[in-house]
Every structure is written in structure tokens, then in C-alpha cells.
Amino acid sequence: MEYILQNGLVMDPKSNLEKKLDIHIQKGKIKNMAPHLEEPGVEVIDLENKIVAPGFIDMHVHLREPGGEANETILTGCRAAAAGGFTAVAAMPNTNPCADQEGVVELVKARAQRAGLSRVWPIGAISKGQKGEEIAETGTLYKAGIVAISDDGNPVTNSEVMRRALEYSKIFDIPVISHSEDLKLSAGGLMHEGYWSTVLGLKGIPPEAEEIMEARDILLAKLTGGRLHLAHVSTAGSVELLKFAKAQGIKVTAEATPHHLLLTDEEVQGYNTSTKVNPPLRSIEHVKALRKAVKEGLIQCLVTDHAPWAEELKDQEFAKAPNGISGLETAVPICWDTLVVKENLSPMDLIAKFTVGPAEILQQPKGMLAVGEEADITVIDPHLRKQVKAANFYSKGKNSPVDGRTFQGWPVLTIVAGKIIMKDGEVKEGNQ
């Protein structure tokens, strides 16, 4: 496959390149990047008024397979990723069985390979069975191909175990991703604690349930020198803790989700279970603090926390429905509309949070555009306004709190190693 991406505005945060260039792709790699490339007989794709960026990376998704195939499979999850403009996703280990054994990591990699769409980077469990009692065989998992460890969904309650995980992970220089939650403080909680939890009669989760664990993990990162990555930070206090940690030179990075940047706890009104997520949608002061932290660069990475659920699981009483949002197919437009269009974040800065940001955290040689490198490319139409139709998602999970809303700025082309896997919202079929 050989073609030229023509007339697009190329933006590469890593090399700080912003220029109208043509990109010649051949044998899966970027052969050349220059103005006005012409090769006789080579197909041309016109990208006038579009932005050509390095392939977007989502370092926090749940693909559910093995064990949760009713909610998503690696194939359907990869289709959703392709549709959403992602060329690579990092898959959380909380499957059944969980990725605390190399066999599960191998399975995820093999099925992703077979799907032939976006790249899937497995994340291994921190502890055996994600029970938080004994650390898993990180070395074996690393050899099998994991890019990070996490017990996502479960916090590591035992401080000693977390300390050992942060220490041991230093052998492989991989980040320990913390799902920060004090389970006693959040027990029974269904939404953010505040005005709306009182009005709706739903048990609240105070921001401190998140912040207490983040504070502990930051201190443990200081103690151990391990690399800590805070998953889905959602509170103003988390931002303050992050500032503290960075000022101390502690190795801490953090991510935020589109839903925490766009939506407040008021959305829970009406008991729409698509708004039920952990950490919960917060009140406006937290949302504002989070947006500011993203703009100021304190949060260097945006992730979906894609958590698809079968309809019958979400279509029940609020208290019974599981936590999670199907986010892969709306992340880019939500962030573009919220941060670039409305909050004046530069397109370059936003792109960095989906490319070089996560690539650096996971130490993957991706998230950049350079001659000779594999052609992983995401093209954005910054002017395209489109309505979200969750029923048409490629993901099995239609649980979207933004169903029916219109956003500006959509991915229109996803390319992995030169192969076009999505064009104009249409996914090029993966292999069964």
C-alpha cells in the first residue's frame, strides 16, 4: 500500500512541527514528509483543511476479553478505537481471568493481532488476582509484553504491597497505574457527594476518597523512586496533590478523562445510568480545576477509561447498574470541542495529550511523525460538527452520557502502520 496524504496541516508535538506538508507512505512507513510531493501513479488522499497528527494513543481502556465478551471483545473494542481515531490502546488487566499471568497477556496480544486494527498494549496486574495481597510476576508479564501495571478497578489497599510494587517495577522502568480510592470512604457510594446526591437520595462519594489514596501513593512514590501514574484524576484536590508532587520532583504523572472534563454531577439527574462512573462525575468547581490542570500541562495525558457494558446491565435501577462509560468513539470530539473550541487550548497542546504524552509515560516509540518511522497517523477535521449516536457505536457498549449531543472536531482518518483502518467514520473491517 502506497499513497500520499496531501495538503494537510501536519502537527507533531514531539518535534514541535506545524506546517502544511505532504506525507508519502510506503510499505507501512513514512517515506517522506515535504511540501508538494508528487509521485507518478501513487494514490493521493486530499486533506485540505484537516490536521494530520501522530496516531492517537489511549492508555486506559477496558476491552473486557477474556471473560466479559457480552460487553466487548478485543475485536469490537479495536473497531471502536479505530472509529475514535486511536491507533493504539492500552488494555487494563481486570478481565476474567485477569492479566496476572502471561497466558492472558499473550491472548490479548494474539487476538488484537488477528483483529488487525488498532494496536493493543496490555497492562499487567499489580497483584496476583488483583487482590492487593502479593505482587504478580511483573518480570514474566513484562517479557510477555505489558507496558505498565495496574489493579485498575481495585485500589491496592495495603500500603506495603503498593510500596513493593513501586519498588519492583523499577527493574523494568514501567509505571504503576493507581486507581486511587479509599474503599471504606467510598463504600456504597453511587455518585459525587454534594447537592445533587442529596436531592437525588443517592449515597455520595466525597472527593477525599480519591485524594487520600493519591496522597498515599505520591508519598510511596517518593519513598521508592518508582514511577507512579494516577488514573482518572477527577478532583480539585487531586490537582493540588499533583502540584505538590511535581514541586518535590516525585515521579508522578496523571491522566484525565473526557467525561470528567465535560460533565458535572448535575447530569445524574433523571438517574441516567450512563452517567454512573467511578470516579463519579464531579461538581463544577472540580471540572474547572481539572480543565485548568490540563491546560497548564499538569495533566499530560487524556484517556477514555472506555468501560463498555451490555444494554441489559445499564438498563436497570441506578444502584444496580455497573460503573462505566463507553468512551472510545467520543473522546476526541468531546476534548476538541471542550478544550480547543471553547477553552482555547491550542490544537498542538491537545494533540500532545493524546500522543507524545501517553507515549512518554509508557515509554513506547510512538506518538510522533518522522521519516522512516511506522506510519501511525490520526487525521482530524477541526471544523466537522457531528451528533453522537450511541446506537451506531462500533463498541458493544452504547452507554454514553453524551448520546445526542453535537461536538466539533472529529477524527476522519486512522492509519496504523500505513494501513487505513478508518475513513470518514467508517471502520475498515478487521479480521474475525
Binding site: Y195, S197, T198, V199, G201, L202, E312, E317, A319, K320
Partner: protein, 309 residues
């Protein structure tokens, strides 16, 4: 006027005028309950289904009698003896009842939001008979009827709601309804049982029972559940009773002709002393009668008026 919205879920959805209409309709209905032959044909051919996911004596019986006094066919479903134990979803249970011809489904559920969810699925009308810690609008209406009968109006009344505010749907519905009608509502309980942000809903919060009782016109005591102590929200029933229990001594702080209310079931000797519950100021039994009247009024306004409009 009637109830315009299909479902009755919260007190917040009712206007002042609608509340007045429900209360005056209930007053007329009360005359029927006091008759020797308690039957009028108004709802003949209408089907009322009581769908109760939680145990209940007075609310369920009250809806049942309200329907029967007006000649509706009333079916009771308690979920412990139904397809729910076989894992049937709320949605499917609702559709099943609707397919059999239910005109109105009265639902009690331990989870907030369940009545609204059911209402979204069904064409049949839905009445919230209490959902989790959210709302219990028919209880608030019967409390308001009791207050109105005794004190004439709501404007300027000091109403003290005392006890476990956090877990109380009764408190939320009363706060919403009473403040709308111009009453001054005080909420009192230990800080561990007062939800965050409740002041923004219009109530005044105090942790001091004496302050809540001072010159109160209405004292509404809430039931305390033993399981709240087990969850560590207060240290013991004895201490709770000392700090927040209503006694003959404490009621003296309230205005001379104050009313004592309790939604039931009561824990005698814990949140309310036995002799206080039985005193002349107590209107707890009248509340029960008014509960039937309010539910008759609602069934009438939601089912009986449809054709004429």
C-alpha cells in the same frame, strides 16, 4: 386541574396550586372513609397495581383501601413472592403488568430513581410510594393534610424534622413541599445523619434538638434504623435517644399547641417516648387516616378525571 404529568415522582414537580387541590380533594375523600358504607363507584373498571419491592404495612394497605373505597380493582405484588426473585428486571415486570391492563402502578423500591425508571418505560401512570432515600411524596402530602387540618395554613409555621435526615425520603419530600407552601423547615439530627448541601434546598440545619424544638408549631420525628448504628453513624441507641429522642419534657420547648407527627413505624422509647406518642398533641393516628384520604385523592385525580378532560 388534576395531575398533568403522567407520573407522580417528587414533591418538586407539584405546583402550589396542585398541592392545594390535592389537599382539598383529600378533605372530601375523608368524608367517605368516615361513612358506614365506604364505597363510591368512581374508579370502577380501573386497575391499580401495588408493586412493592420493600416491606410496608401502612403505605401498601393505604393505597389498597384507597383504591377499593373507590371501586378500583387493586392487585398487590410483593416482590419476595414474584418473578423478581427469579431475576426479572424492573423493566420486564413493568411491561408485564401493563400488558395485563394496569392503569396505574404504585411502586415502592429500596433504590432511588426506580419509580422514574418505571415511569419512563410505561404508558401506565406511576406513583412513587417511596424510593430509597429519595422521595415519598404521598407521605409528605398526608403530613401536610394533617398540618392543614389542625393549623389552617402553612405560611410562617416552624416545622422541625428530627432524626435521620440523611436516609429519609420523608424528610426530603416534606422539606420540598412545606417550603414551597411557605413554612419554615428546620432539620435536626447528628451531623453524621444530615446530608451535605441540604441547606441549599431551603431547610435550616441544627444539631441541637432544643434549638429545633424552640417554638416549633410542628414536630416531625423520623424513625431511626438500628442498622445505622451498626454502620457507625452514631455510637448507641441509648445515646441517640438522649440527644434526639422526643419526650414530654422536651416537647415543652415547642409552642403550646404544637403537633407531633411520625411517619411510622415508631420505635417507642427511642426516637419518641411512648407517652409522648400517645399524648393529646400527637396526631400520629390521624396521619394514617389522612394517608388513605390523600391516596384516594391522588387516584381520583390521576384516574377518575381522565374522561371528562
Amino acid at each position: 386541574m388534576g395531575i398533568k404529568e403522567k407520573d407522580l415522582i417528587t414533591m418538586g414537580q407539584l405546583s402550589k396550586e396542585q398541592i392545594e387541590e390535592i389537599l382539598s380533594t383529600a378533605k372530601e375523600m375523608k368524608n367517605i372513609i368516615k361513612r358506614d358504607i365506604k364505597k363510591i363507584p368512581t374508579l370502577r373498571g380501573k386497575v391499580v397495581v401495588n408493586l412493592f419491592y420493600e416491606p410496608s404495612t401502612r403505605t401498601r394497605t393505604s393505597f389498597e383501601l384507597a383504591g377499593k373505597y373507590m371501586s378500583a380493582d387493586v392487585i398487590n405484588i410483593s416482590t419476595s413472592a414474584s418473578s423478581v426473585v427469579k431475576g426479572e428486571s424492573l423493566r420486564d415486570t413493568g411491561y408485564t403488568l401493563q400488558s395485563m391492563g394496569a392503569d396505574i402502578v404504585v411502586i415502592r423500591h429500596s433504590m432511588a430513581g426506580a419509580p422514574q425508571l418505571l415511569g419512563n418505560y410505561l404508558n401506565a401512570r406511576v406513583i412513587n410510594a417511596g424510593d430509597g432515600f429519595h422521595e415519598h411524596p404521598t407521605q409528605a402530602l398526608l403530613d401536610m393534610l394533617t398540618i392543614k387540618e389542625q393549623l389552617g395554613s402553612f405560611a410562617g409555621l416552624k416545622v422541625a424534622i428530627i432524626g435521620d435526615i440523611l436516609h429519609s425520603r420523608v424528610a426530603r419530600s416534606n422539606l420540598s413541599g412545606l417550603t414551597k407552601m411557605g413554612a419554615d423547615v428546620w432539620l435536626c439530627g447528628p451531623p453524621t445523619l444530615v446530608p451535605p448541601g441540604i441547606e441549599t434546598l431551603g431547610g435550616k440545619v441544627t444539631y441541637n434538638m432544643d434549638e429545633a424544638l424552640q417554638d416549633a408549631d410542628v414536630v416531625m420525628m423520623l424513625r431511626i434504623q438500628l442498622e445505622r448504628q451498626k454502620a457507625g453513624l452514631f455510637p448507641s441507641l441509648k445515646e441517640y435517644s438522649q440527644l434526639y429522642g422526643l419526650t414530654q419534657e422536651k416537647i415543652k420547648l415547642a409552642s403550646k399547641n404544637s403537633l407531633i407527627l411520625h411517619p411510622g413505624p415508631m420505635n417507642r422509647g427511642i426516637e419518641i417516648a411512648g407517652n409522648t406518642a400517645d399524648s393529646s398533641q400527637s396526631h400520629i393516628r390521624e396521619q394514617v387516616t389522612n394517608g388513605v384520604a390523600i391516596r384516594m385523592a391522588l387516584l381520583y385525580l390521576m384516574l377518575g378525571q381522565q374522561k371528562g378532560e
